[in-house]
Each structure stands twice: as C-alpha cells, then as structure tokens.
Amino acid sequence: MSGQRQGFRPPGTVFASSSTLPLAAASRPGVGHPPFSATGVFTSTAPQRHLNFRMPPLQTQTAEALATLQKLSNEYEPEIEGPLVGKRQSSQAITAEYQNADEIFVRKTAVLPQKYSHYRTVKGDGNCGWRAIAFSYFETLHRIGDKGRILEELTRLKSLNNLLNQAGFAEHLYEDFVQETLNLLSEIAYSLPTSSDDAGLLKAFNDPGISSAIITHFRLLTSAWMKTHVEAYQPFLLEDTVEQYCASQIEPYQVEIEHIGMNALIDALILPAGLAVEILYLDRSVGVEVNSHKFERMDASGAPLNPDAPTFRLLYRPGHYDILYKIEDVAALMSSPTNLQVAYATPVTYGTFQPVPVVPVSSDMSTYLEIPGMSTPFVPVTPSAMSPDTYTSPVSPALSTFSTTTLPLRPVGDIGGFRPSKYELEAEFHPSPMPNLPFQTPTFRNSHFNPAHFRNSDFQPEMWKPDTADSGRGHKDDSSRH
C-alpha cells in the first residue's frame, strides 16, 4: 500500500471557492453543481436542498458560513432517477428519445432498433461504463450457461489477486471487493441450468453493496493491469504517468471510465474470458448508422482469433454507456421452455383478453356471448383434444363445471395478470391473431372505433370551418339579443 501523498489538489479552498467548484465538477463528469456567482453566493437557481440554508447578509458571512456552503456544494449530487441497472426494454425507446433531436441522431436512432432490438439503461452516476461492462460480463456468462466455464472464470479471477498484489494493493483492503465478484459468479454457476432469467443478476446489481464492490474490484484489476503493462498504455497518456493516471482516473470511485480505461478493462477481464465486446458509438459524426468498434482477440495480422466468441454490446453516447442487445442475443436469453410459453402467452392474453378479467363475473355476460369467436382463442389448450360438444375443458377442475354456454371467462387466481397453468401450448400452436372478431355489437357498430364508415364512398368527415363557426355564433348572439 502506498502511503505516499499523491500530489495536491490544484488551487481551490474555502477561501477561493469559485475555483474549487469547477474542479469538483470535472472530477465527476455527469454530476452537475449548483451555479455559484463570483462571490460564492448561491444564485437563485440553487437546488431546493440548499435553500433551507439561511443565508446571512454578505458582509457578516464568516469563514464558517462559507465553509458550510462549500461543504454543501462539494457534497452536492443531483438525484439521479432510476435503478443502477434497468430492465431490458425495446430499443424503440431510444428512437423516441431522439425524435426531436439533431437530424443525425434521428437518422441513426431510427435504424438502431432494426439491428439492436433491446437495450438496458445503466445509471449515470459516474460508474456507468464500469457497471455496464461488469453487468454484461456476468450476463453473458449466464447466457452461455456453461457451469464449467463460469467456474473456470472464478478460478481465473481468484488468481488475478496475484496481479493486484503485484501492483501493490494490500490484500486486506481488496479482499472484500473480490469476494463479492466470486460470490456472484458461483451463485450463477450453481443456479444453472434452471435459472434462465436475469432477475437474480439484476437484483444483485441493484444492491449498492454488491454493485459497488464488484465495480471497485474491476477498477483495481484495471489499474493493476495497466501498472503491470505500462508499455502498452503509456503511449496513450499525454501528461500523466500510468501510476498517476490510475490514481486519478481509474481507482477513485465515481470517476467515469475513459477509452483507455475501457481498453485496459477489456484486456484484463473480457478477452481472457473468451468474450468479445462491441461498442456502438452514437454521436454526431457523419453517417447513417452508429459507428461500431469490436474488441476481440486478434492474431498478429489483425484477424480475429475466434470470430464466434460470445459478444456483448454497449451503446456509448458521449459521457454515458448503456447495454445493447441484438435480437438473437435476446432470443438466446429467452430460449428455455418456460420462457417460450410466456412469449406466446403474453400476446394472447394481453392482445385479446386483457379487458375480460377485470369485468366482474356477475356483470352482464350475455354481452360477451354475443361476440362471435370470443370463445375460440380462450381454449388454447391442446386444440386437437377439443371438440365443441365434449368441451370438458382441461384448463382446471374448477372450470370444467362450466358448460360451454357459460363461457369459462371467469378469472381464476390473480385477477388481471397472466395465470400460469401446468398446461402448455403445443410447440406448433400459433394463435392466429384476431381470427374472426368482427365485434358487431350494437355498441361497437355505432362507436367511433368502428372504421366501417371509411368504406362508404360518400363518407365525408365533418370539418370545422372557422368562418361558419364564428358567423354562426355571431348570428346566434344577434338573434338572442333581439
């Protein structure tokens, strides 16, 4: 452990507050600071939290008061919403986010979902690049689903403690961080093959204790890797030595990862695990698509050693990393039989039936009986075994007491949610979307949801004409006056 002072903070103290603030801000990119005027007095846009502080008149401000303000300012962190690692969601959301942005962004984000169907947000708290890589590392190992391989990784990471020692880190200071990484790896390994979803991983990564420890472990690994491979990284550092760079940019918590740190982390952690990373850069550079760069193991000639290495993807927007998924990755993540059923069931239940369970059973069922075809999709259980006459529904014993005419629409169990049963759809069963649901109830026929009137050649939409509206009202007024 180096007990040496690492140099000093550049000018800026309680007595020279104006110069301290930008420095503090610079050390935490993405973290804004309340605006200060030159005298150190908060401007009116200072956040709520600070407004509680009673500001004495300027002349009577003591060093004490200024120091209190400085302290508040130093410790100020804007509340950043959202989980540390979010749920996987459709990347259409990114397109929507940029729809009013610069044209280049609009163009690039419009085509993004075609290739990369899903993404996952990572909290922008200064650790996002580290967190994104760390989460993806675990998730990809989980996706591969090879217990032996995960245990190999566990052994490799344990042995990397030697690297940490070599870089001069004291074991009693890093062992807690390493332990969290090893714990999570072994939990994933022993949860296989039954655990097929990301719930456990997501929960672990949203636990600040576990998440911070793993990130710190990976920071230290990166630092140690750079310090033991100085010749590879020094050429990229303009002013600092590798030692200085690690002390100021890699090791401190909440300092965002830069390109060189990303390189070192990938070299130390990802490539030796037999994985590859592709980073997609979404910026204002010319082009119709996001630029991408793939980090993978290459031979001397620059050809990839293992082109089929499992790859995960990060989306980089200046200052921030999120996680991206290709369609096939998502498919692989959801490929277990239980998930397959959910994939079918969700559109069926929500697409056609969502309103049904919320209707109280006692309410007028006859309305629903009038809807032809309403019953057809509701018996998705083994269609071959089902004939209209002998409809003793195998859905559940409770439902079999209903006759065909009473329609088994009664919600059983959870109201509103998908109620899983022990019956599964046959593999070939694809419910045709809305087979014959003309919805010809009187209510529907007269409602504005009925598009039939568009087919009428004489159809003319009602149009609002400002003139007639105005003159009409004027006329009315006149007449009422008379």
Binding site: R9, V14, S191, K203
Partner: protein, 183 residues
C-alpha cells in the same frame, strides 16, 4: 398433505425458476453499514499489528465505529519535529467508496490546514479511492507536515513564510500549537 399437493399443482410452471432467482439474489445481502463496520474492524486490526512509527488511531470510546481519533507525530527535520497532533476521523456510511472527513483537533499552523482544522489534501477529496485507509491517510498527513503544497494554501501567511522566514514561521507555529489537554 392434500393441501400441499393442491398448492404445488397451482404453482406457476416456472416456479423452479423463481426459487432459483430468489436464491441467487438473497444470498449475500449486506447492509451498507455492516460492510463499513467489517472494513473498519479489519483496518483497526491492521493498524494495531503493524508498527508504523509516529502514527496511531483508535475508535472513539462511544462505541461508534464510525468515529475515530488519530495521532501523528511531527517528522524529524521539520518544523513540527516532536510535536503530536490529534485528528478526528468520521466515516460516511458508504465508506470506503467515499473518503472519511478528517480534521486536525490540535491547533496547527500549516499552509494546507485552516484555523478550524480543515485539511486540503487530494486523497481526502477527488483522488480518494477504496484502497486508501486510515493508515495511508495518517502517513500522507505526516508527510504533508514536512512537504506542504504551498501552491494551494489554506493559510496564505504560512505558505508565504514557509521558505521566506523560517524563524518567524517557527515562532507562529509554536504560538499556535497547544497540546490538546490544555485546550
């Protein structure tokens, strides 16, 4: 039991899955303060076993492991040779990801310490990292006594006198110094 059987029939087909994910997620759920405590205990052990000269630290008597008192002795060949200084450490709940707040309790005349005992040292601010600890902070402060950073002073007068007028510096420094018991 019938009830049990019923129950198992009605569970979701992916219940195995659920069991697994709960197992995966609930295993090592540490409270933040718990891991802070564990870390500080390790540090205390380490400090007591190692014999770094001129530094010591111990948790306060109130039983709260988040507040410590440290002592450093002025290094030989400096203005502070032979004097002892007491410091307070207070650790945040997210220690060691965030630095402890360290203050000089003993009044000290030094370019990088103000009259309230606040210290300007990079590793206590933006260069803090989780592998620093009480011991490295104490060692850094000890070396700060001999090698101040006069370019960014908290005490401008001290920074100016440091090289220019050693006699006056020593006089002012001794005038300010009080052993804590006398205060």
């Amino acid at each position: 039991m019938d009830y049990m059987m019923d129950n198992s029939q009605n569970t979701a087909p992916d219940s195995v899955n659920n069991v697994q994910s709960t197992k995966l997620s609930t295993a090592p759920r540490k409270q933040d303060t718990l891991s802070v405590t564990k870390r500080l205990q390790t540090e205390l052990m380490q400090l007591m076993m190692s014999s770094a000269p001129g530094i010591s630290a111990f948790p306060d008597a109130d039983g709260n492991l988040l507040n410590w008192t440290g002592t450093i002795t002025g290094p030989e060949g400096t203005y502070y040779d032979g004097l002892t200084f007491k410091l307070t450490f207070s650790f945040p709940n997210n220690y060691p990801y965030h630095p402890p707040t360290v203050l000089f309790k003993t009044p000290i005349y030094h370019p990088n310490v103000d009259f309230s005992g606040r210290i300007c040292l990079d590793i206590l601010k933006d260069k803090w990292s989780a592998v620093y600890n009480v011991q490295s902070v104490l060692l850094s402060l000890q070396s700060l006594l001999g090698e101040p950073n006069n370019a960014s002073p908290l005490n401008g007068q001290a920074a100016e006198l440091w090289d220019k007028d050693p006699v006056e510096y020593k006089r002012l420094m001794l005038a300010r110094h009080r052993d804590l018991d006398e205060v």
